[in-house]
């Protein structure tokens, strides 16, 4: 597993052993960054599913997820159920797996999220479900998302988490992404 960032605090634990739910890697930003990448996932033979838990703040409100250095967002799609404090509505995305308009841009206020990446090591299309939300002063949103990668069917070996489309934004200091492995039979 490797880390593709500068200015980070990083803790890693060797895979294998332990329980059925293991911490694999954590990235906490000490400098702003366009993206966080978890790589080397092909070596995680002990695990069937992955989970990413995060607290995040950016200079844009959208998070984009991509796999295996395939950064063509047209190869991903998803749909979301959102609540914004006034109404509940659904959105469809044909441009990336994204959690839209839910990342905090406010000082001290961080968005919380849990992303499950199911059967990541199989030759399936890659299914992601997320629960993300923030009760900010200006940004108020709770979202459930389902996303898939439908262009290729290959094991997921790396995960890239972009701040805004194409990583054009900046994750802010204090943002933290932790990767966990969940064992199967």
């Amino acid at each position: 597993m490797s880390l593709m960032l500068l200015g980070i605090l990083n803790s890693q634990a060797a895979g294998g052993g332990g329980g059925a739910y293991d911490l694999l890697e954590t990235t906490t930003l000490t400098n702003t960054a366009n993206r966080v990448t978890f790589s080397g996932l092909g070596s995680l033979a002990d695990y069937q599913h992955l989970q990413i838990r995060f607290v995040a703040r950016g200079n844009d409100t959208n998070l984009y997820l991509s796999f295996n250095a395939d950064n063509d967002n047209s190869n991903y799609r998803g749909h979301t159920l959102n609540g914004d404090g006034t109404s509940v509505y659904s959105q469809t995305s044909t441009l990336g797996i994204q959690t839209s308009q839910v990342i905090s841009t406010e000082a001290n206020i961080f968005t919380a999220g849990v992303m499950d990446i199911l059967d990541f090591s199989s030759s399936k299309t890659g299914t992601v479900r997320t629960l993300t939300g923030v009760a900010g002063s200006s940004t108020k949103r709770i979202s459930l998302t389902l996303g898939i990668r439908d262009s290729t069917a290959s094991p997921i070996t790396s995960i890239r988490i972009d701040m805004a489309f194409g990583g054009s934004g900046l994750w802010q200091v204090g943002t933290r992404f932790s990767l966990y492995g969940i064992k199967g039979a």
């Binding site: 052993g17 739910y21 919380a112």
Partner: protein, 166 residues
């Protein structure tokens, strides 16, 4: 060996009815806290709105945004400046309807951010809730309580607190 990741920190099963449950002196060596509760109201309580406070803070420092559905309609609500967090929104446990709640408090031991939480609650509603405690202090105690004076959680209600390493 991998790092111990998802550990039970404390567990309470009520032997007799009680109006609140408090976990204190919480281990600060984890990244996130997950509180899983399954509760009913004691006989005569009726519906029991259930709330929580962090570090016994009763100031107006809690905010939330929720969405839910009850089988016929979907709703969203946002509240700022409450004196408590919520274990569920529109739905509440009753004598016969258990309230099942998973409350996740992220980066609870950090001191550089307000505390963000995600909740999934199932009562007569299915709900998802984002919450914020507008305080940068590390969380060292959680108190879950019946909002209405005289209400009680029924005996047998369970409250389990887990720590997730980061």
């Amino acid at each position: 060996m991998a790092t111990p990741t998802y550990d039970l920190l404390a567990s309470t099963t009520l032997a007799t009815s009680a109006s609140s449950v408090t976990f204190s002196s919480i281990d600060q060596n984890y990244g996130d806290l997950i509180l899983v509760t399954e509760s009913k109201g004691s006989v005569g309580s009726g519906a029991i709105p259930t709330r929580f406070r962090l570090n016994a803070d009763s100031g107006d420092n809690y905010s939330y945004v929720l969405m839910n559905g009850d089988g016929s309609s979907a709703n969203s609500q946002a509240i700022t400046g409450n004196s408590f967090g919520i274990m569920s929104g529109y739905g509440t446990p009753t004598e016969t309807q258990a309230g099942l709640t998973i409350l996740q408090i992220m980066d609870y031991s950090a001191t550089d951010k307000h505390k963000a939480a995600l909740t999934r609650a199932n009562t007569s509603y299915v709900e998802a809730i984002a919450q914020r405690w507008a305080d940068t202090s590390a969380v060292n105690s959680i108190s879950v309580f019946c909002f209405t004076s005289g209400d009680n959680f029924a005996a047998g209600s369970t409250f389990n607190l887990y720590g997730v390493a980061k």
